[in-house]
């Protein structure tokens, strides 16, 4: 048996949250082991749509989202690549008066939070975005939002963490973790033994059993957002598109391919992987062709889908365990984790170093579900805000 690895922090799950936490912790001087059951960033972090979007998030996420917002333009300096990040703006479409009213209400609610939203009426929309067809009532533009390439960003964070001195152990699933008085003991892969002072549970859709092992069961479900990509086309779509009420989201990459999502796939049998359904893909394709005339004669060359953890209230779990000192959870990003993940990584590193973060995360406490279950008072659950799927 190989000797036990002694590290300050063991991170379970090498998605964007775990990888960015590993990097931030190394920069603070902590020793870190990052564990993933497959390749880092091969699940939701690497195969999501790629929206880098603050608009549409519930107000309690905005501070965290703003923190991440400051990181995205600096990727080159942090991880050595720009990750194809483009500050294109995020344009959220309303297709009915009711949806437009909802966009207006949202803009009012987050007015003081620095998103600089601009509400656009139908005439102006047609003038500024003539490539959008159909009955669009109006839209809300968040000029500072954009999009990036998840395949590259997530793997690059893990790679940067490794270069910064973290032990990045891929294909090393954690089979057992327990707390002893002198720290955490983990067994992983075929023969890896680890002792760590802190454990971060950033295992995404697979985080539930780790939380439950420490007496903190959570309502974590799996979702399978599915996307289609077109052949490369002349660039026409100069903004990241979403829709109030969901159903479609789209962006065009520099190479010319359009990526369009809005439906869910299904898991493959006995596998951690999922695949779009034929009907879901056809629905997305038809919606895209109807909404964007330049796509009418285009071809879809590829579909894909990913496995993502979703919480019942669609907010993530971020913060210290309520049962186990030095255990930190960060999972359940509910199809909206890509943009905030690099900010979450920094927050997690602060929690390890300082025991608290300068960014408010109380809304994401893991015991909120237990508290809700105990409370008989109606209205104790924050009113959920309707959000787009999987961006």
């Amino acid at each position: 048996m190989s000797p036990t690895l002694l590290r300050d922090v063991a991170i379970i799950g090498g998605g964007l949250v775990g990888s960015s936490a590993a990097l931030a912790l190394r920069r603070m001087g902590f020793s870190v082991v990052l564990l993933d059951k497959g390749f880092c960033g091969a699940q939701a972090s690497g195969v999501n749509y790629g929206g880098v979007r603050r608009q549409g998030r519930p107000p309690e996420q905005i501070a965290l989202s703003q923190r991440a917002h400051a990181i995205w333009p600096r990727l080159n300096e942090i991880i050595g690549i720009d990750g194809e990040f483009v500050r294109s703006g995020h344009l959220k479409l309303a297709r009915t008066e009711v949806e437009m009213a909802s966009l207006e209400a949202y803009a009012a609610r987050v007015a003081e939070l620095g998103l600089d939203l601009e509400l656009i009426g139908s005439n102006q929309l047609r003038e500024r975005f003539p490539w959008i067809a159909g009955n669009v009532t109006g839209a809300s533009l968040c000029p500072g939002d954009g999009h990036a390439n998840p395949r590259l960003v997530s793997a690059a964070f893990a790679h940067a963490a490794r270069l910064a001195g973290a032990d990045v152990l891929e294909h090393t699933p954690v089979s057992h973790v327990e707390k002893a008085p002198d720290g955490f003991y983990l067994s992983a892969g075929s023969a890896t033994q680890i002792k760590a002072q802190f454990v971060i549970n950033s295992a995404g859709a697979w985080a539930g059993p780790f939380a439950e092992a420490f007496g903190e069961p959570v309502p974590l479900n799996r979702i399978y957002p599915s996307m289609i990509v077109t052949e490369p086309l002349n660039v026409f779509m100069d903004v990241n598109i979403g829709a109030e009420g969901g159903g479609i989201y789209a962006r065009q990459v520099e190479r010319g391919n359009c990526i369009v999502g809005g439906m869910r796939g299904e898991p493959l049998a006995a596998s951690d992987f999922s695949r779009p359904t034929g009907s879901g893909a056809v629905t997305i394709m038809n919606r895209a062709a109807a909404l964007f005339p330049p796509l009418r004669h285009a071809y879809a060359i590829r579909f894909w889908s990913g496995t993502e953890g979703e919480m019942a209230d669609r907010n993530p779990v971020i913060g210290f365990s309520r049962t186990t000192p030095n255990l930190i959870h960060a999972f359940g990003f509910s199809g909206a984790g890509f943009q905030i993940a690099p900010g979450v990584g920094e927050v997690l590193a602060e929690l390890v170093r300082d025991g608290e973060s300068r960014t408010p995360i109380q809304a994401f406490a893991i015991d909120r579900f237990a508290r809700t279950a105990q409370s008989s008072r109606a209205g104790s659950v924050p009113e959920p805000i309707k959000r787009e799927t999987a961006q």
């Binding site: 390749f39 793997a155 790679h159 695949r275 359904t277 009418r296 004669h297 060359i301 590829r302």
Partner: protein, 458 residues
């Protein structure tokens, strides 16, 4: 019993047609879906527009087989549901999504026979994307189907029996063949003598092609290492190395290929377990002797289950039809199955001889230059792949795809996947099987966004 059986056959080549014929013989009405406008597959592809050419002109020594297969297909035409010019783009559970032009529909099946055949294995070298460069199969289809040659002075290059067959067909058709460049040394052909006992007709036919090419003054070079294709807007010449010397020949088209690769995407989508076939240097769905995959009710016949050629495909098509019937509770002619299996076994033994006579051009993957385009859809070079291995420690093909976009484009790796696996394995010093295979995703070929769905897709 027959009303609950609704087998779907994908592909109307030698395997698909013989499978359909066998099922029809038992009173079953299969659905036959094929991408081509008429039956025959790639090997016995029919003309798009009738011309004065005879089957002898089109198929040479194989004319009788081609004609028999076409006649069989015509005879069973009203006892099958035949969907030509139709693509099976997705398989899930017991349903397939099939697209004809701008319409897609779902076909629920009781059994699935994949007779999807094979395409050329393409190995890139300098200039391989120059207009005027075709695969051997593509060169052959231009001639058979459209009655035109790919150029006036054509060089055929590569390895495999198809090299000589296509060159010979071009000469017979009166097209100019500037040279045949065989990447295997002449000595490799002595292996064919071993094959004389097993498949004398096939070997003698091959010798005849080569002899006739030489008799007509077509230079045949052995032990050739391709260096580059010259020309920008159009092929102007080819440079190769032979016994240490560089040689050049002017030409206006190049047809090349290095044996064939099985079309396996649908088997992957259907959830079939894959195994590595060392002879074909590729992963393919695992099949038992009878063509059963690991998924009950799903069968494979022909080159899609490993490269064995058209004669084997006909035999395997018939056999898989009989096996499907037997699995479904029909009583079948066991003697016939034994005969088919004996013949198939002989062909498979002969395949080893062919592989020795037309070996893979080692050490291609190590010697190819960094600036050669590997994945033409996504414009990724060989150097990109080597850099991903060097800088990011990549050792698996899907990870390579994620980090470099190799295999992510229009062809979904059907064109570049074999070469990418070879380059990756060599660069990271792993065996070819250990770098894995590209996971298939629907659609297996591009689909129009405005496709209209008749009912709910799978």
């Amino acid at each position: 019993m027959s009303d609950i059986l609704r087998p779907l056959i994908v592909g109307a080549g030698p395997a698909g047609i013989r499978a359909a014929q066998t099922l029809v013989g038992a009173g079953i009405r299969p659905i036959v879906v094929d991408e081509a406008p008429s039956g025959g597959g790639q090997i016995y592809r029919q003309r798009i527009v009738p011309d004065e050419r005879s089957p002898q002109d089109l198929y040479g020594s194989e004319a009788a087989k081609a004609t028999a297969l076409h006649e069989t297909f015509a005879q069973i035409r009203d006892r099958i549901d035949y969907l030509p010019e139709t693509l099976v783009w997705n398989v899930r559970d017991k349903a397939a999504d099939v697209a004809t032009g701008n319409r897609t529909r779902r076909i629920d099946f009781s059994h699935l026979i994949l007779a999807t055949g094979a395409t050329d294995r393409v190995l890139p070298f300098h200039g391989w994307t120059t207009p005027g460069v075709f695969t051997l199969g593509g060169s052959q289809i231009a001639l058979k189907s459209q009655g035109c040659a790919i150029g006036e002075q054509v060089v055929f290059l590569g390895s495999g029996p198809l090299l000589y067959l296509v060159a010979w067909q071009y000469v017979k058709a009166g097209a100019g063949v500037a040279a045949v460049l065989d990447t295997a040394p002449f000595s490799a052909k002595f292996h064919l003598l071993r094959g004389l006992l097993a498949q004398p007709a096939v070997v003698l036919r091959g010798f005849r092609y080569a002899a006739e090419l030489m008799a007509r003054g077509v230079p045949v070079h052995f032990g050739v290492q391709p260096v580059r294709i010259e020309g920008k807007a159009r092929v102007e010449g080819i440079v190769w190395r032979e016994r240490g010397k560089e040689r050049r020949l002017a030409c206006d088209a190049v047809g090349y290929g290095f044996a064939l690769r099985s079309e396996t995407q649908l088997g992957d989508l259907a959830g079939c377990r894959f195994i590595f076939d060392a002879r074909d240097r590729a992963w393919r769905p695992e099949c038992d002797m009878a063509g059963r995959t690991s998924v009950p009710g799903i069968y494979i016949a022909g080159d899609g289950a490993g490269i064995a050629g058209a004669d084997a495909a006909e035999l395997a098509g018939e056999r898989v039809g009989l096996i499907l019937l037997e699995d479904a509770g029909f009583s079948v002619d066991r003697t016939r199955i034994s005969v088919l299996e004996r013949r198939l076994a002989a062909i498979h033994r002969f395949r080893d001889v062919l592989e020795a006579a037309f070996p893979f051009p080692d050490p291609w993957a190590g010697s190819i230059a960094d600036d050669v385009t590997l994945c033409r859809c996504e414009e990724i070079s060989v150097g990109h792949v080597r850099a991903a291995v060097r800088d990011q420690g990549v050792f698996e093909l899907n990870r390579l795809k994620a980090l470099t976009r190799v295999g992510m484009g229009r062809c979904q790796g059907r064109m570049c996947g074999s070469a990418a696996a070879e380059v990756l394995a060599t660069a990271c010093n792993q065996s070819l099987d250990s770098v894995g295979r590209l996971r298939a995703q629907p659609p297996i070929k591009p689909l129009p966004l405005e496709i209209a769905a008749d009912g709910e897709a799978a």
